[in-house]
Symmetry: C3
Subunit: 364 residues, 3 copies
């Protein structure tokens, strides 16, 4: 086992310096490493080998935390020279175009020296001409080692998996989930306050979490919330600000057993000054069409946010998140985005069973 002191040998200050976001709060991955006081647990991470990551339940609390620690190491260290994914092929099958998410995964694969088969726009695939997703899955088996899928329909992953023997990573399925976005979100939060990973968080360090949006029909918000439940010991209260009467839909059916207080409101102004973390998103899926967050929920400086509060957003944003927040220390969203490729590097290395190629997991 690598201990905390020897782990710091792998931190390359020039790598960290190079890779920060241009504006907003800067997150230091070594804070997360120092708090852990040990290397990521190799035995926990090894369990992810060959596993599909489709829903939040596919990654446990413990696995989430170890993945974030591994991602912090990858953010602090240039691993390209170790070619962790050498010889591995990943298909990025985006049946719904998303340049941000596709390039994030592709960058992660290429930084690790894996290779990419890219389907940037599913509207030009055989499925557009009537081929079933089950047949597409069967086809993928002989082409690659892992498939990253984004699809506008919630049921698409299940159909694709019918014929697929490879692990799938869900990069967003309709009004379903976006589980790696949630891992990215919590990676940012754990770098911000590493004690959120502890079981015994002091009462005055627990956070009041605010969500502006509707978990029931916003998949990134839903995935963030489902992952938040894992960190209940660090949460004092959750407030959901939504124009919907029942913003949860089917999410969190047993909200009363969460271990923290839950509040629902349709006004953001009174709530904002009480929040430690504000999570928001722009797009909701209503039936078959997309719907933008209501105007009354726009966030901007002077809106009552506490100076030490942080704002998260999975991006892309529209009008709901003012660019005037970009230069403030409440802007956690750029650091959140900047960490995405490291979290995905960690996940891909684990699922593709190449952890032993990383020097910091096996060195003495």
């Amino acid at each position: 086992m690598v201990n905390s002191t020897s782990l710091m040998r792998f931190v390359q200050p020039e790598v960290i310096a190079r890779r920060t976001n241009s504006r907003g709060l800067q997150l230091d991955p070594t804070v997360l490493l120092r708090h852990a006081k040990r290397a990521p647990k190799l035995d926990v991470l090894r369990r992810l080998a060959g596993r599909s990551i489709c829903e939040h339940t596919d990654v446990s609390r413990e696995e989430t935390i170890e993945l974030c620690r591994l991602a912090a190491l990858m953010e602090a260290n240039d691993v390209a020279g170790h070619h962790p994914l050498d010889g591995k092929l990943v298909i990025t099958a985006f049946f719904e175009a998303s340049t941000r998410t596709r390039l994030s995964f592709e960058s992660a694969v290429l930084r690790l020296d894996g290779k990419i088969l890219s389907v940037p726009d599913g509207s030009v695939t055989g499925t557009a001409k009537g081929e079933s997703l089950a047949d597409v899955g069967e086809m993928f088996n002989s082409y690659a080692d892992l498939v990253v899928v984004r699809h506008p329909e919630t049921d698409a992953l299940r159909e694709l998996a019918t014929g697929l023997d490879l692990p799938i990573i869900n990069a967003g399925n309709g009004s379903g989930e976006h589980p790696t976005q949630a891992l990215v979100d919590w990676f940012a939060l754990l770098k911000w306050r590493p004690e959120l990973a502890d079981r015994n968080v002091a009462a005055d360090r627990k956070i009041h979490l605010g969500i502006i949006g509707t978990p029931g029909n916003m998949r990134a918000v839903k995935s963030f919330l489902l992952r938040a439940v894992d960190f209940a010991p660090a949460i004092r209260k959750l407030t959901v600000v939504s124009e919907m009467a029942d913003p949860f839909g089917n999410v969190l059916d047993d909200a009363d057993r969460l271990g923290f207080e839950v509040e629902i409101t349709n006004e953001s102004a009174p709530v904002l000054p009480t929040l430690d973390v504000v999570y928001m998103n722009s797009i909701a899926l209503l039936g078959d069409s997309y719907h933008l967050l209501g105007e009354q929920y726009q966030l901007h400086p002077g809106g009552g946010l506490r100076p030490d509060a942080v704002v998260m957003h999975p991006l892309a944003r529209r009008e709901e998140l003012s660019t005037k927040l970009d230069e403030t220390p409440q802007n956690l969203y750029f650091a959140q985005a900047a960490g995405a490729t490291y979290l995905r590097q960690a996940l891909l290395t684990a699922v593709l069973d190449r952890l032993e190629r990383l020097p910091f997991l096996t060195a003495e």
Copy 2:
């Protein structure tokens, strides 16, 4: 020359186990190797260096058989570590989008450590704005080492070749041909029954081949049929089931010299119980538009197929091929698809003159 015994040294059982199709008949590439009793003929394969593969006549019977044997070796052995296409660039220029075929070629190139310049959708190229294909060909010369082309127009390859000094591989041109699909098809058939490659096939081992579709306007069917002529000594009879009175069009003008009986019918029911192999496809090109196979030719379990018959399909499929056949041993189409990247790996290595990088061709 590597003999059959030493050849088996290169078979890696864990590689074969990993790479089979999920359902249907499983094909073992070593059967083909054992039947050959020798290594692929290097001198025959070397002839393919620098050659364009546009029509069926661009690959001879002997070259087809040796390519299939090389592909079987590549299916049984992980060659990535030998980097056969290191430093080679391949353009996949799909002026007609086809994710299945494009990814098949790209996977083959990447598995051999070559690099890809991808044109996934020709509707966004300069030709859409009025540039001639001859000028596109001239442009490609300095970009890459080989060009894989799919185009909706039959004459496109000839125009592209005007300015092109690189070898072209035709991945489907209008109502023309799809020669690598035919190689893929026969690779599956030779793994199924390796004696089909022999000149002296016992009368009771010759096959009755059925084609449901119209060779005259279905390019995959046409290419399969043109390649089948090379295997005439193994064919007892060919039956073409089509709603067209003259399903051959210009294909096989001298059908009476084929060396096997040819039958044309527009009813599939009476014929099915007599067939050893059924080849079908879904799409025909009629003038400028695509046309689906008629409903009366749908294939499904209980339709009269013999238990030991096999069904082939180049995929993608529509309604004509029931998914209920997927779980049956008559399903050869998934194994056929699974073999595609290996056949293309063999072809690319030969055309790009990198055979000497493969350990099994040069070892003693």
Copy 3:
């Protein structure tokens, strides 16, 4: 410092032979090297490390000349084995599709063993859904090491740069510039007549340069002209043939200080027999729409061109440039296109600070 004699050690005749254009004038890169009588100046090229190349002023006359000499070396030598861009990631973000330019950059990156994140068609990116270019720039920071951008709007680069910490290479922005095309153009001219790089060009070796088109609204023409000013000592006269009364627009406000005579005319016939070099293009941007060059300016054999004159065109072409010129020695445009990837290889190696990986710059 490498001297001219030892430099010739790096010239691989078989590499040069392989890489010429199929038709038209053939350009020999060693002519440029022999004229220079020395290796490219490493200290000059090193200045380009980390620099964005958005406008013509981002590359000086001296840097242009040294880049062309480096490109000549790369054209004469197979550098792939030195992996100059190993571990580097380049985003090709084409918000306006252009297969020719995109593949040219991607080929350059891949030949040097860099990796590509490709956005072939910006109409499927987040910006199409309303994301700002500043946010796209912020996103790119953590994905790659350099961004190549084509955009239909002139102001796009400035907006993208707001959030971007990586160097940008402008691959064409609206009616703005296309600075690497101009480098490609002058790379061809310097291979054609290396003394154009000299300060003291004999009067009878100075060239009469003709431009058929409108620098004010044709970005490739504009960039070529702006770069031409650097080579004023080698230019006797410039004639612009245009249907516009003021073809320069805002370009060259101080045309009277250029150091060579400038003539404007709307008739090409009288001028053609006097020209040494004819530069033309097909497309002008007028407001928001594209406009083709007028019919009266079509160039074809027998149109009065001198036998030793050369025709340049950034391609793609339409009707304005007859294919009948392709087989003539006046066709410099195919050689111009063939050199594009080498010039871009040189530029990418310099901007990404990997010059020391090239054997010919550091060998003794």
